[in-house]
Structures are given as structure tokens and as C-alpha cells.
């Protein structure tokens, strides 16, 4: 944490209200926003306490990102007593994320720590003494919450991937360091080619993560998961179980105009967009058929199908037809109503779905949820979810840090071509490692030294 640098954060509650405000504060605030804000004038030249209409652009491509209003308050007459710029965007998560994304690519700008605007306001004398305790409480509670969220994410797949990436970079770093600190030791000499190879590999992995983030798929959708089954096998209660049991409901998007109800849940850190394809069956009713067609197209779009069967009844023709429609998808078969008598022969199901895992559940008794989570996790960890490899980078902060790490690795590669010595290249590789670590909330510390001594045999 560094004082006096420029910070940015969303100042309004996410997902609420028609307008979201991104607040930027610090010495670089005006310059940074100027760089990405296109309007008739220059922000650095306009009067203080004025508001301007224009577009946030990607400075690299000049592409318009969002339509915004930007207001400017020069310090000390501002909330923090520093230069403050506020970007008013359309409400909703996407607009804010798009703007934050380009904003955080600017130099010397970072996401604010929890409560940091208020802290600065206090430290700069804008908030009176009586409120010091309140400021402390605010910092504390916000960062505890942020910590809890980070912990939750740290259990997930993203965290595992980032840890792998970090391990990759730290091995490279340890290799460079051992060459420097033990020059006479018989370890492999560090070559430019080796550094490039390692950096390239890491960049490829980061790109995979970023690609999905750029597509914004997970951002909006999560893993598109269709809950499929004929009526009354327990689809809706599965949906309810998942959404109630679970846990971090990111947001609800009620299917107001559709028959498909959508729900976001995070299961073991994997975001799912659940589609309950209520009432899927052959029908002559026109209205109902529209609903059924939508449900079928939902299956086509889905990345994952949770196929629900009734343990209490033998496999019906309707079941078989539906099983036919989900062939070739990633499917988990859920055998519901295990609390009732078994009349279902699973052997009949297997020819349709050779590799699907089968989870036995009872919604009534709330049993089998852990096994379901396990099955989804396994599918996900092993990359069996086609088209969805790693699509879970959704957080703006994560994206900006991944991009920073990537840029540092690019700098390292470029430096090898320029004949820059390895100890200088190390600076770039190290900042890549630190950026990745920030995603996990790790502080640098001793782990590089630990790595050196566990990776290499050194001594006198």
C-alpha cells in the first residue's frame, strides 16, 4: 500500500441504481482520465467543479467503450482533498467493468483499498476528529469483507491456476537468482532463450485466462448450465436447492420475458448460470411450444447439462428422447428422489451417455449436494467442459493484474533481445510474479528465497 498514488474504485453500490460512479483520486487522476476520455476539450484545461459529456475510449484502438459524464474536482476542494475525477456510467455491472478495465491500464493507477477514499479524506483533514473511530471501523469492516471474498475466491479454480502461473514464474526467478548469487555453482547457465521460453509459456496461459475475460462470457453468464428433465423429476427443487444452499449468489436475473429462469451461483468458486428449462416436452399447445423451443435452444447453448431423472420411476420414452437431445454435451446425470423406492434401471441410461458421471440425490432430504459439487468441480478441473476452459476471470482487479503481469513478461522478453543482463531482466519477471501474487493477496516475502533453496542444492 502506497500513499500519494492515484486510486480508483466504484463509489456506488454495484448493480443498484441507474447510474454508477467511478471515483478516481490522487495526483494522476486528471491526467489518467484525460487519456481515456474523449470529449470536446481536455480535462486538464476545464474549470474545476464542472461536468462533461463524452465517451470512454480504449486509447490503444480509439474504440468507444462507454457513454459517460465526467465531473472534475480539483483538490483541496474535493472529498479527499486531492484531485478527484468521477466518471458517471450507465448502471449495471458491465459498463462499470469496461470503464475500470481501461482505467486500470493507465500508468500509476491502482484499485483503492477498502475504505481508502475515506481514509484519505480523514488524513487530509476533510473529516473531523470525532469520526476517526468510524473511519477505522469502516476500513476494518470493508477489508474484512474483502478478505472474506478473497478467501472464497482463493479456494477456487482461478486461484489454482494463478498459483500454477506463479510457481512457473518463481522457478524462473529462482533460476536467475541462483545464477547471480552462486555464480560458481554447477547449475544450468541462464540463457536468453530459456527466459523467453518460460515467459512465453506463462504469457500463453495468461492469455487463455484473459481471452475468456475479454469475451466477457463469464462476466455475464458463468458456465451456462441447463437443468434438463421431464416435468416433476425435481428440476426446480434442484435449482432452488442450489441457489438457496448456495452460497455466493452473485446476482439474480429474473427471466421476465422468457420461460427460462436464470440464476447465478458460485459453486466451489466456479460461477454457474443456471437455466431451469421448465416444462420441456412435445406439445401441441402453441404457447407452451414456444417455451419448449426456447428450452431446447437453451440446451444447445449450454456448456453443461444437469440431467435429472426420477429414481422412483422406470426410464420413460420421454426421458429417452431428452437423453437423445443432450448427447455430445457435458452431462452430469442426477438421479433424484433417492428417498423413494428404486424403479429406475441405470443400465438403460448408460448407452446414451457413456462418460457422464452419475450423482444420486434427494432434494427432499437435501442429500447428494456435496457429490454434485464434486462432480462439477472434477469436470471443470479436468478441463472437460468444452468451450469453457478457464472462463472464470470476472473481477476487474484480477483482469488488470493479469494484464500487468503479462506486460511485465513482455518487457522481460523484449529485454532479452536487447542484450539486457539477466539481473535486470529479473526486475520485470519479478514484477510479473508480484502482480500475480496480488491477485491472491499474497505478499512477496521470503518465498523466493525458500524457492531458491528448495530448488537448488547449494552450500559450502
Amino acid at each position: 500500500m502506497i500513499e500519494h498514488d492515484t486510486i480508483a474504485a466504484v463509489a456506488t453500490a454495484v448493480g443498484e441504481g441507474g447510474i454508477s460512479i467511478i471515483r478516481v483520486s490522487g495526483p494522476q487522476a486528471i491526467q489518467a482520465v484525460d487519456h481515456i476520455f474523449k470529449f470536446k476539450q481536455k480535462l486538464s484545461e476545464v474549470d474545476t467543479h464542472t461536468i462533461h459529456y463524452g465517451f470512454i475510449i480504449d486509447p490503444k484502438t480509439n474504440e468507444k467503450i462507454e457513454e459517460v459524464m465526467v465531473s472534475l474536482m480539483r483538490g483541496p476542494r474535493s472529498f479527499t482533498a486531492e484531485d478527484v475525477v468521477e466518471i458517471n456510467t450507465h448502471g449495471g455491472v458491465i459498463a462499470v467493468k469496461n470503464v475500470m478495465d481501461v482505467l486500470l491500464q493507465q500508468e500509476d493507477i491502482r484499485i483503492a483499498e477498502p475504505g481508502e477514499f475515506t481514509k484519505r479524506a480523514f488524513l487530509n483533514g476533510r473529516i473531523d476528529l470525532m469520526q476517526a473511530e468510524a473511519v477505522i471501523d469502516l476500513i476494518r469492516s470493508k477489508s474484512d469483507r474483502a478478505f472474506a471474498v478473497a478467501r472464497k475466491q482463493a479456494d477456487g479454480v482461478l486461484s489454482k491456476k494463478i498459483k500454477d502461473l506463479r510457481q512457473f514464474v518463481i522457478e524462473l526467478l529462482a533460476h536467475i537468482e541462483v545464477n547471480i548469487d552462486y555464480p560458481e555453482h554447477d547449475v544450468e547457465e541462464m540463457t536468453s532463450a530459456y527466459i523467453r521460453e518460460q515467459c512465453d509459456k506463462t504469457i500463453t496461459e495468461i492469455d487463455k485466462l484473459l481471452k475468456t475475460a475479454n469475451e466477457g462470457k463469464i462476466l455475464r453468464e458463468g458456465i451456462l448450465t441447463a437443468i434438463v428433465g421431464r416435468p416433476n423429476v425435481g428440476k426446480s427443487s434442484l435449482l432452488n436447492t442450489l441457489t438457496q444452499e448456495n452460497r455466493a449468489i452473485v446476482t439474480d436475473i429474473p427471466g421476465t420475458t422468457r420461460d427460462v429462469i436464470e440464476q447465478f451461483v458460485t459453486l466451489n468458486g466456479i460461477p454457474l448460470r443456471l437455466l431451469d428449462t421448465a416444462g420441456i416436452r412435445e406439445t401441441t399447445d402453441v404457447v407452451e411450444r414456444i417455451g419448449v423451443e426456447r428450452s431446447k435452444s437453451a440446451i444447445t447453448d449450454a456448456d453443461l447439462v444437469l440431467f435429472v431423472l426420477n429414481n422412483n420411476e422406470p426410464l420413460t420414452d420421454e426421458d429417452k428422447q431428452l437423453l437423445e437431445t443432450v448427447k455430445g454435451k457435458s452431462v452430469i446425470v442426477i438421479v433424484n428422489k433417492m428417498d423413494l423406492e428404486n424403479n429406475l434401471n441405470l443400465e438403460e441410461v448408460k448407452p446414451f451417455l457413456l462418460n457422464a458421471s452419475i450423482v444420486k440425490m434427494s432434494m427432499v432430504r437435501q442429500e447428494g449436494l456435496d457429490q454434485l459439487e464434486q462432480a462439477i468441480s472434477e469436470l471443470f478441473f479436468e478441463g472437460k467442459l468444452e468451450g469453457n476452459d478457464l472462463t472464470y476471470v470476472s473481477n476487474v482487479r484480477h483482469i488488470s493484474l493479469l494484464k500487468k503481469a503479462k506486460q511485465s513478461l513482455h518487457d522481460a522478453i523484449e529485454a532479452t533481445y536487447m542484450g539486457i543482463p539477466i539481473d535486470v531482466i529479473q526486475i520485470d519477471a519479478r514484477s510479473a510474479w508480484e502482480s500475480l501474487g496480488e491477485i491472491l493477496g499474497d505478499q512477496a516475502g521470503d518465498s523466493l528465497i525458500d524457492q531458491i533453496f528448495s530448488q537448488f542444492c547449494l552450500g559450502k
Binding site: H4, L129, V135, I139, D423, V424, L458
Partner: protein, 629 residues
């Protein structure tokens, strides 16, 4: 019976690498100083490898020299081989490493001490501290002599409750069978200092007459040796080579077959050993798939045939050691002159120290070197000079001196020790420094000579030379900036160097920034009007070539310094700050950081904790200001 002996300004206990630097500093700063050591024949003794320097460590020697310390000058007088390491890498990690004539090194250092005014060298065993009103005011020796002093520096190395271990054999001892210092450990504990048990080790020594050098590779010194001290201008030393050989399959088998007799694995050793310097048995167990390990044979001096077997550090029993030695190619018939051994000793938990190296519990008591949990001669000497400087400044009523992390490896080391502590003997590595590019060995003088001068350890003459160097380097960089060159003037040079052609004229400085172009090449085209030494030219070249990276790090340092300048009042009561976790409160209370910067480096203290402290301090300051009105 006790008796009152003489009073001094400063007493330094122990005359190893930390003690001699501390004592020389205090005496040279005008303090009447006594340096007391158990055995006068062991002054500045090297109980382990006969070498000084290397990455980070060599940097420290240069920093000591810039501060006016002795280690650099002394090794320049007594080296038998000098090598610049890492020359294929960037200038920040070039590192000078010397093989010492360890006996001559001792003799030269002892002579320097003997001839230094204000300094008394005395043989004796200090057993007790005299502490009055929370202040250390002297020491008592084994003979009952009570010496009074205004400040005391303790540098006990591995002597403090030292215990040598070799297979099944264990006995109380300092290094190399010296008498250990036992009672002083109890005295330190009685006065409230927490001690831990650390361990280190050393390999066997063999007789060079019995080495078959034809089976080894020669490792010669540099043809044109460089020096550690800026005061050393030349040397006519004839260099002696080292020799490289390897362990064999047989060595590994002998060790594996006898692991049950290795104290490392039998549980006989309770102290924590250094990770960077494991014994050979440790290496073979931990890196089982490595077929062989390097062994360097290093001469211990010019007038001895003893060789140090680097790479074979061990605490195996004597009979196994002999077998191990003889399994190494070239050592088949070697005569083992001294055994390798492990040694355990007491160290002070270093978070009990201020960054000045004064203990927090006892005013006027300073500790330096291995007692603070480090390992290595250079690390010890670096702390020694700082402890000495601060002891002397305290006696003289002057402000303490703290070297920042961006100013020197000494600063990195001390900050690490007092802020984070250490779980095993601490060794400096260049990777411990965040601003490695700024902490080069070539600019140690630029970084620290002004401080050395201000303190009074750098002579006026040397300071004037330093200022001249600094000025000429700046003038030359300025000149290169301003010198414009046309494409055709530089074309032949660029062609010859395989460098891209210049499309239009411009400052010659841009040419020098190209990796393939050196300063000496440019000299042929536009020679400098100034009389520059090689050292100055090197400085000009480095400062220009790496300007981009250097500037980036300077910017980071500027940010760091903002945090370092936010001081925390000495009387802060962390228990009164709501919003800090109990764990953070305890850690902050233990370390008692001097600044927000230092607080942020304590393990477990989060950015949110720092914010809370900042808000609390603002509150505190406003309340204090209101009360003042």
C-alpha cells in the same frame, strides 16, 4: 574477588569480524575503547572458509569501506587470489571475491588495532553485564575485573554456549576448539534477552602435499585484480590458484550408509542450521538424484599447506569423514589435518533490537554479528561497524545512524533482522534487495562515503578525492549528453561493432545506450577532455546504459521513502488502537517499528492495519496539537 578496573567510553566484547569493526569505529570516532577477546591469537580469525566477498557479501565489504571500515583494506593487503564474479551479468551483480591468507589477515588486522589510538586490545573472558536502571554500564571478566563503560557492544560469534558436534562426539567449545563463552549467555538471559539456538558447520582441512592436483581443475585468479577498498591503488601480490573436483558415487554411498551416525539426522543437533550452507550429508539426502557435488580446494594461506575442502561441510564422525575425503578424486591419499564439525551456539532473537543494533530492553547494549542470527564474515563486519558507529554516537550524544534499504545491503540486512527476525542463520543474497540495481558494488562509495565522512570515519583527503570523482563523472555524463554526432562521423565505429546505422544526427549518449557499444569505443571518436580513471569511466557507462531501469527504481525508492519518513512516536500504545487484530498488536508491540514503512514490512501486518495506524496517528497528532494550544 572482584576489583574495579579501568573505565572506558565503549567496551567491545569479542574480536571477530564484527568486534574489530565496532571497536575500530568507536576508537576512530574518538571514544576510549576496550576490545576484549578470549584469545588474542584469534583476532579476526576465519574459522570457516578462507575467503571474503562474492555476490552481496562483496557489496557489503565495499559499503564497509565507504563508511571507513577496515575489512576491505585488510583483505586487499592479504589476499592470495582475487576474482570478479558475474562479469557476464549486469553491473549491479558484479561481485569481487578474494581468497585470503587467513593467518596474514589476522596479523594485519591485529596490527591495525594495536596501532589505533584510543583502542586497547585485551585478552579476557567477559562473564557478566553490569546493568543499572535499565542501562548497560559495564562488564565483569572471569578474573573479577569490573570495567565500566557508557556503551557495550557484544559480538560473541559462535562462542556463546558453543558446542561442537562430530558424530557421537559432543563437547562444549567455541570454534576451532577455542574456549566457549558460557556465563555471558546466562547473564544476557537474566537481563531479559530471549536467546535461540543456531547451528553452523565447517568442512575438514587436508594437507596440500598429499593432494593429487592433476585430477582437479585449476581455478586461477583474475589477471588484473581489482580491490575492495577505494584506498588500495595497486598490489603486487602473486596469486595462488584454487582447485575444483567433485564428490564421487563412493562419497554418496559412504554418507548414505552412515546416516544413522550423522548428528543431523540422529537428533543430536537441536540448533537450526543455515539453509544456504547445508552439510554434505544434508545435500545428499535432500538432492538424492544429483550424481555429484562440486568440491573446491582452497589454500588457507601462503605459509601453510593446509587446504580448505569447500563443499564437504560435515558433522559425521571422524572415521567416516576420513573415508569421505578419500573418496573424492584427487584426495585419495589426502592427509586430513583437521576434522569438519558442526557447532551450535546461542543467538539473540534479533527483533529485540532497534535498527541501530541497540537492544530495546537494555539501553547502551549493542549486539552485532552471529549473535544477531546472521552467518558470514561480511554480514558480521557490516553489523559491527553500524553497532560501533551508533554506540559511539550515543556516547557523544549524537543522533543514531540507520542505513535504509535503498542505501545499502547493510541496511537491507539490518532491516530484515530487526523487522522480520530470522528462523535460520541469515545470509545476505542479492535477491534480498528490492533495489538491486541501485545497490551496486561500483557505486558503494557514491552511496555511503558522504555518510562515512559525516560520521568522522572518512578522512578529509579521501573525501576530497571522492567529491572529485563524483564531479568528474557528472561532468562527463553532461558532456556526452551535449555532444551531438553526425551519422557519417560514427558510421565506421557502428559498422565495426555490428550496430545499426544512425539515420540522423543526435546526442552521443544514445549511441552509448546500445548494448553492443562501450564507452571505450566511443572514446576513439570523441575523447573526454577530463582526466578520467577507469573507475570513473565505468561509472559513466553504467549510469548511462542502465538509466531507464535505474530511474524506475529511484521512483520506487521515492515512494518507499514517503512511508519511511512517516515516523511512529516512540510512546505509541498499540493496545489502545481499536481495529488492529490481536496478532498485529502483538507483532507491532514486539518490533516497535520506527516508521510506517518499517511497520508495513512486519510479517502479518496487513495494508488495512497500516491504514488503521495512519488514521490513529492523525488522530493522535491532532489531539496533541490541540493540547499544545
Amino acid at each position: 574477588m572482584g576489583y574495579n578496573a579501568k573505565s572506558y567510553d565503549v567496551i567491545v566484547v569479542g574480536a571477530g569480524h564484527a568486534g574489530v569493526e565496532a571497536a575500530l569505529a568507536t576508537a576512530r570516532m574518538g571514544c576510549e575503547t576496550m576490545l576484549m577477546t578470549i584469545n588474542l591469537d584469534m583476532v579476526a580469525f576465519m574459522p570457516c572458509n578462507p575467503s571474503i566477498g562474492g555476490p552481496a557479501k562483496g557489496h557489503v565489504v565495499r559499503e564497509i569501506d565507504a563508511l571507513g571500515g577496515e575489512m576491505g583494506r585488510n583483505i586487499d593487503k592479504t589476499f592470495i587470489q582475487m576474482r570478479m564474479l558475474n562479469t557476464g551479468k549486469g553491473p549491479a551483480v558484479h561481485a569481487l571475491r578474494a581468497q585470503a591468507d587467513k593467518f596474514q589477515y589476522q596479523h594485519e588486522m591485529k596490527k591495525t588495532i594495536e596501532t589505533t589510538p584510543n583502542l586497547t586490545l585485551r585478552q579476557g573472558l567477559v562473564e557478566e553485564l553490569i546493568v543499572e536502571d535499565g542501562r548497560c554500564v559495564g562488564v565483569v571478566s572471569q578474573t573479577g575485573a569490573e570495567y565500566r563503560a557508557k556503551a557495550v557492544v557484544i559480538t560473541t560469534g559462535t562462542y556463546l554456549r558453543g558446542r561442537i558436534i562430530m558424530g557421537e562426539l559432543m563437547y562444549e567449545s567455541g570454534p576451532n576448539n577455542q574456549q566457549p563463552s558460557v556465563k555471558l549467555a546466562h547473564s544476557l538471559r537474566e537481563h531479559g534477552l530471549e536467546l535461540v539456538r543456531f547451528k553452523t558447520g565447517t568442512p575438514p582441512r587436508v594437507n596440500g602435499e598429499t593432494i593429487d592436483f592433476s585430477k582437479t581443475e585449476i581455478q586461477p585468479g583474475d589477471e588484473k585484480p581489482k580491490f575492495f577498498s577505494h584506498e588500495t591503488k595497486e598490489s603486487h601480490t602473486e596469486q595462488i590458484p584454487c582447485w575444483l573436483t567433485y564428490t564421487s558415487e563412493v562419497t554418496h554411498k559412504i554418507i548414505n550408509d552412515n546416516l544413522h551416525r550423522a548428528p543431523m539426522f540422529s537428533g543430536a543437533i537441536e540448533g537450526t542450521g543455515p539453509r544456504y550452507c547445508p552439510s554434505i550429508e544434508d545435500k545428499i539426502v535432500r538432492f538424492a538424484d544429483k550424481p555429484k557435488h562440486q568440491i573446491f580446494l582452497e589454500p588457507e594461506g601462503r605459509n601453510t599447506l593446509e587446504y580448505y575442502v569447500q563443499g564437504l561441510s560435515t558433522s559425521m564422525p571422524e572415521d567416516i569423514q576420513l573415508q569421505m575425503v578419500r573418496s573424492v578424486p584427487g584426495l585419495e591419499n589426502a592427509q586430513m589435518m583437521r576434522n569438519g564439525y558442526a557447532i551450535e551456539y546461542d543467538a539473540v532473537v534479533p527483533t529485540q533490537l532497534w535498527p541501530t543494533l541497540e537492544t530495546k530492553k537494555i539501553k547502551g547494549l549493542f549486539t552485532a554479528g552471529q549473535i544477531n542470527g546472521t552467518s558470514g564474515y561480511e554480514e558480521a563486519a557490516g553489523q559491527g561497524i553500524i553497532a560501533g558507529i551508533n554506540a559511539a554516537r550515543q556516547v557523544k550524544g549524537e543522533e543514531p545512524v540507520i542505513i535504509g534499504r535503498s542505501e545499502g545491503y547493510i541496511g537491507v540486512m539490518i532491516d530484515d533482522l530487526v523487522t522480520k527476525g530470522t528462523n535460520d542463520p541469515y545470509r545476505l543474497l542479492t535477491s534480498r534487495a528490492e533495489y538491486r540495481l541501485l545497490l551496486r558494488h561500483d557505486n558503494a562509495d557514491l552511496r555511503l562515503t558522504p555518510l562515512g565522512y559525516k560520521i568522522g570515519l572518512i578522512s578529509e583527503e579521501r573525501y576530497q578525492q571522492f567529491l572529485r570523482k563524483k564531479e568528474l563523472v557528472e561532468l562527463e555524463i553532461q558532456r556526452l549528453h551535449e555532444t551531438k554526432i553526425k551519422p557519417n562521423e560514427i558510421r565506421p565505429l557502428l559498422e565495426q561493432a555490428g550496430s545499426a546505422e544512425l539515420s540522423q544526427g543526435g546526442s552521443i549518449i544514445n549511441i552509448l545506450k546500445r548494448p553492443e557499444i562501450t564507452y571505450s569505443m566511443l572514446e576513439t571518436v570523441c575523447p573526454s577532455p577530463y582526466e578520467l580513471t577507469e573507475e570513473m569511466k565505468e561509472q559513466v557507462e553504467i549510469q548511462i546504459k542502465y538509466a531507464g531501469y535505474i530511474d524506475k527504481q529511484l521512483l520506487q525508492v521515492e515512494r518507499l521513502n514517503k512511508m519511511e519518513r512517516k515516523l511512529i512516536p516512540a510512546d505509541i500504545d498499540y493496545s489502545q488502537i481499536n481495529g488492529l487484530s490481536n496478532e498485529s498488536k502483538q507483532k507491532l508491540e514486539l518490533v516497535r517499528p520506527l516508521s510506517i514503512g518499517q511497520a508495513s514490512r512486519i510479517g502479518g501486518v496487513t495494508p488495512a492495519d497500516i491504514s488503521v495506524i495512519l488514521v490513529y496517528l492523525e488522530h493522535y497528532n491532532r489531539v496533541t496539537a490541540m493540547k499544545g494550544n
